[in-house]
């Protein structure tokens, strides 16, 4: 008879890439219960977004996450442009999609690399990271920024992608695809990966529906809630996309859904690059002032539906609520690891692809004091003491 004891992982732990405290209650090596303790990457983004002009809020909102920066931009712009009645030209819509799909590729490859590292396959980790680096070079070329692309404004984009830029996108994805086909084959056939992923962290379709899961985690349970398909927005209205779905609901299914989504994104990129109107340019001036309005909108981030609820009063944001995909999937984390062997926990947690910095974006007021940030400090991302 084993006694239940607490096994802590984190908040700082070699197997975690972001701070998260897993409290596992184990009997022997079997996890009986799990509690996830958060708050270690908390920055108070929502509070800092309040009382800002809409174009200033856009700068802050796209810095919520370093992996899916463009998807926050798109959710914010979709909502704001929606209730303000701002029409965007096809070129801008497709340019935004190009950056978003490149972001999906880099996010999934980063995730795949880290997942392989968790499985003890560091060579594959390096292979995935090497290919991801090429995508970051494309971001550098297109937007001037490797991480926070910051390429869009209300109603327009900051620059027009040249013919050479689009050619660079296409040649880069061709070179990545060649290698990625081999890596996907390895992932699907490698004994270590199959043993450690198949049948691990199973989530049933019913649970996924009941708990409202989103993104690749839901699609690995045969639920199609891809926002790009169910509610197409911006350039996705012009492109053909089929959701990648699997039925198994385990860690292997989630792995393969993400890898297959990389190929789907490459296809979307080809379509977008071919359809972009060659002679047009992006509008020179963005919409500067939005007096009032409120609405809700979503974009499909690499981890799933990214929801924004925005209210603007007298030209300033009264509330910006962000519901990131990890928060939607968080409720399932303890259930996914219950009954698992303790050695499988890092693999199961990683297969859910948590983005902690995205999720921990809520308001904070410490000791009853509210921090005031100037626009300049907000742009620089630091506060003068």
């Amino acid at each position: 008879m084993h006694k239940t004891c607490l096994f802590p992982i984190g908040p700082q732990h070699p197997s975690l890439k972001e701070p998260l405290f897993l409290k596992l209650y184990v009997e022997g090596t079997t996890v009986k219960d799990a509690v996830f303790d958060l708050g270690y990457a908390h920055r108070g983004v929502e509070e800092k977004l309040e009382g800002k002009q809409v174009d200033t809020a856009l700068h802050a909102v796209q810095r919520t996450c370093g992996i899916c920066s463009q998807c926050h931009t798109m959710a914010f712009l979709r909502t704001v442009e929606g209730f303000a009645g701002v029409e965007i030209p096809d070129r801008v819509a497709l340019q935004r999609v190009i950056v978003a799909e490149l972001e999906r590729i880099h996010s999934h490859m980063l995730w795949a690399g880290v997942m392989m590292h968790e499985l003890g396959l560091d060579t594959l980790f390096m292979y995935f990271m090497r290919e991801r680096e090429k995508v970051l070079d494309v971001f550098d070329e297109l937007t001037g920024n490797r991480v926070h692309h910051s390429s869009d404004l209300i109603g327009t984009s900051k620059r027009t992608f040249s013919e050479e830029n689009l050619e660079f996108v296409l040649t880069t994805i061709d070179s990545i695809k060649e290698n990625l086909v081999r890596y996907r084959k390895t992932v699907n056939s490698h004994d270590v990966i199959r043993d450690r992923c198949i049948g691990k962290g199973v989530i049933t379709k019913k649970d996924a529906q009941t708990f409202g899961l989103v993104g690749p985690v839901a699609r690995a349970c045969n639920i199609n809630n891809d926002v790009r398909v169910t509610s197409p927005y911006m350039g996705y209205k012009m492109l053909k996309l089929k959701s990648i779905m699997r039925k198994e609901g385990d860690a292997q299914a989630r792995t393969l859904v993400r890898l297959d989504e990389v190929f789907a994104s490459m296809d979307l990129l080809r379509q977008a690059c071919n359809q972009i109107p060659r002679k047009s340019k992006v509008p020179k001036y963005p919409v500067k002032r939005i007096a009032q309005g409120y609405g809700a909108g979503a974009s499909e981030a690499p981890r799933g539906e990214n929801f924004h609820f925005i209210k603007v009063v007298n030209g300033k944001t009264a509330r910006v609520k962000l519901r990131t995909p990890t928060l939607a999937n968080l409720v399932m984390f303890p259930e996914a690891v219950k009954g698992a062997d303790i050695t499988d926990v890092p693999v199961i947690v990683m297969s859910l692809d948590p983005c902690i910095s995205c999720m921990e974006r809520v308001a904070v007021v410490k000791d009853g004091k509210t921090e005031i940030w100037t626009s300049h400090e907000l742009f620089r991302g630091e506060k003068k003491c």
Binding site: L38, G39, Q209, E305, L327
Partner: protein, 94 residues
Amino acid sequence: MKKIIPQFKKTKSERLVSISYLKEEEGVFIYYHFANKTPKFREIKIEIGNEKEVESIISIHPNAAILEGEVTEMYGIKFPGNPYSGKRIFLEEK
């Protein structure tokens, strides 16, 4: 306690996306956003006035647990029956 369950009975087939607290000039509101088969989100806006307790909807939407817990933590509105109501999710313990 503000009773709200009857207004949510028809939302069972929809997916709860978000719960947002918002203090406006007209009063204090909680917005519930739902996704269904249409491209737009459906919202249910509940005015809570000075109420500090609101009925939890986890019996209809189990994923409301963390979303309601977040509102409790940030704005002090309690949702009796929610296991996360009163627990710390993001902020440091006092």
